[in-house]
């Protein structure tokens, strides 16, 4: 997985919350609703909610992965695939943007 390699192009991608996203923090995680689309709100739980929280400020993928791994007390390699998948899903939903 390339984002575990701090100099790989994917690891250097800057991730941020999309501009027109409405959201609520809840007991179970976070609910997000991109306003530019006609989608339903999506409930983020566990690591997906944590990704949203960490992206209160834009972060490079490698830094995001490192923070998440530290939060859950696991190695970055163990969660890299899940994190990449969650980022892609949130991007597809219109909740995140990448630079």
């Amino acid at each position: 997985m390339t984002i575990t390699d701090p100099v790989a192009p994917e690891a250097l991608v800057l991730w941020c919350r999309a501009d027109r996203v409405l959201w609520r923090r809840t007991l179970g995680g976070v609910v997000v609703l991109p306003t530019q689309r006609t989608t339903e709100p999506v409930a983020l739980r566990g690591p997906a909610a944590m990704i949203w929280e960490l992206l209160a400020e834009p972060l490079r993928a490698a830094d995001l992965l490192e923070s998440l791994a530290a939060t859950y007390g696991v190695g970055a390699h163990e969660v890299a695939a899940d994190v990449a998948g969650a980022l892609d899903l949130l991007l597809e939903l219109g909740a995140l943007c990448r630079d």
Binding site: R24, T26, P41
Partner: protein, 375 residues
């Protein structure tokens, strides 16, 4: 008890009031020390949703202040997600309506829910809401309805009589696609108080808040507080979250009290202000007295105050009693006549929507009048 129509189970009401007061400085309400058991828990959770307290309940659980079993925590988390979904759908609708109103040159203020949630609470999730309340000028009212209808909205009850909305009406409820609802307001409340509020003045101040990447405007700080007071003092029943709004704003230290009293004077709403603050302090059992709560405790309503309150919360509160009280406060004779004519002779679409006939309408009024004109 606010919001509860049946006899509540023991333990439900104290727990609800404690949740409504959770986090307020000076409250003596105490949360349960053990997880609630069935059937109290189920009744409590239903009532918490009805009183729009799910966000505060979730916070109390998260803080470890409200003991709950794993199953109860999951139930609250699921309920809070449902509540958040509704709020977000309404906020997305608000952004769309703001674009449409902007395009049509209609100035508006966001009332209650989204405005109070984003401005007055540290987390928007703590203040849930079930519809959008928007204030527009009387002159823009018909245009605003037309904009919403062009977006698929449907007005539930037509205008009473041509010209009534922009001169005398409180507002209209518009059902929007997706089972969302917009309450379009010309004033805060029907009846005499609604006629005495300086409506143009409500557009001279504002408080901004950001949704997504867009700046929206709600009422100015003191106007927002007084609106919360009107809602809480005259509500039947008064929801606990309305009382929380009052305490939340009053204890934030942002209110210019001289302005609050001045506006309340000019609206002839001092009794409403006093009742709302006293209710909040009593129900939420706030021990700390602040200048506003001390003033409210000392306030003694005069005859005019009592008549005004009776039009809303009197024992025989009725459409006719409120109409007569409204008639009294309309200043110009010409307007009084127009108001009376509208009430006595509504137009056919209104009657059809209400499923009543012209004479039914008059008869309903005259039945109340036979009991004597309330003073």
């Amino acid at each position: 008890m606010p919001g509860l129509t049946a006899e509540p189970l023991a333990g439900v009401v104290p727990a609800l009031e404690a949740v409504a007061a959770y986090g307020l400085v000076g409250t003596r309400r105490e949360l349960p020390t053990e997880p609630l058991t069935e059937p109290t828990w189920s009744a409590f959770l239903d009532a918490a949703a009805g009183e729009r307290l799910v966000g505060l309940l979730a916070l109390a659980i998260l803080d470890g202040a409200f003991p709950a079993t794993a199953g109860q925590i999951e139930a609250v988390a699921n309920l809070e997600t449902d509540v958040a979904v509704v709020a977000l759908m309404l906020e997305r609708l608000l952004l769309a309506v703001a674009d449409r109103f902007g395009g049509a040159g209609i100035d508006f203020r966001v009332l209650k829910g989204p405005s109070v949630a984003h401005v007055d609470y540290p987390e928007a999730a703590l203040r849930s809401f079930g519809d959008l309340d928007l204030l527009v000028r009387g002159a823009d009212f018909a245009g605003a309805v037309a904009v919403l209808e062009a977006d698929g909205g449907r007005r539930a009850v037509p205008e009473l009589r041509r010209g009534f909305d922009h001169r005398f009406g409180k507002g209209a409820t518009i059902s929007m696609p997706g089972r969302l609802e917009v309450d379009l307001h010309r004033t805060f409340v029907a009846g005499p108080l609604g006629m005495m509020i300086d409506l143009d003045g409500l557009f001279e101040t504002s408080t901004g808040f950001v949704l997504g990447d867009r700046l929206l405007v709600g009422l100015g700080t003191e106007e927002r507080f007084l609106h919360a007071c009107v809602h809480a003092a005259l509500g039947r029943p008064t929801r606990l979250n309305s009382l929380r709004d009052i305490a939340q704003m009053a204890l934030a230290g942002e209110l210019d009290l001289a302005r609050v009293y001045g506006l309340a004077d000019s609206w002839r709403a001092r009794a409403v202000l006093a009742r709302a603050v006293s209710l909040a302090w009593t129900v939420l059992d706030i021990s700390d007295s602040v200048a506003l709560s001390a003033w409210a405790a000392r306030y003694r309503p005069g005859p005019e105050d009592r008549r005004l309150l009776a039009a809303y919360i009197g024992g025989d509160r009725s459409y006719t009693r409120q109409a007569i009280a409204t008639f009294r406060v309309i200043p110009r004779r010409r307007d009084k006549v127009a108001y009376a004519r509208s009430l006595l002779f509504p137009e056919r679409p209104y009657l059809e929507a209400r499923n009543s006939r012209r004479l039914d309408h008059v008869r309903r009024g005259s039945t109340h009048l036979r009991w004597g004109i309330p003073r």
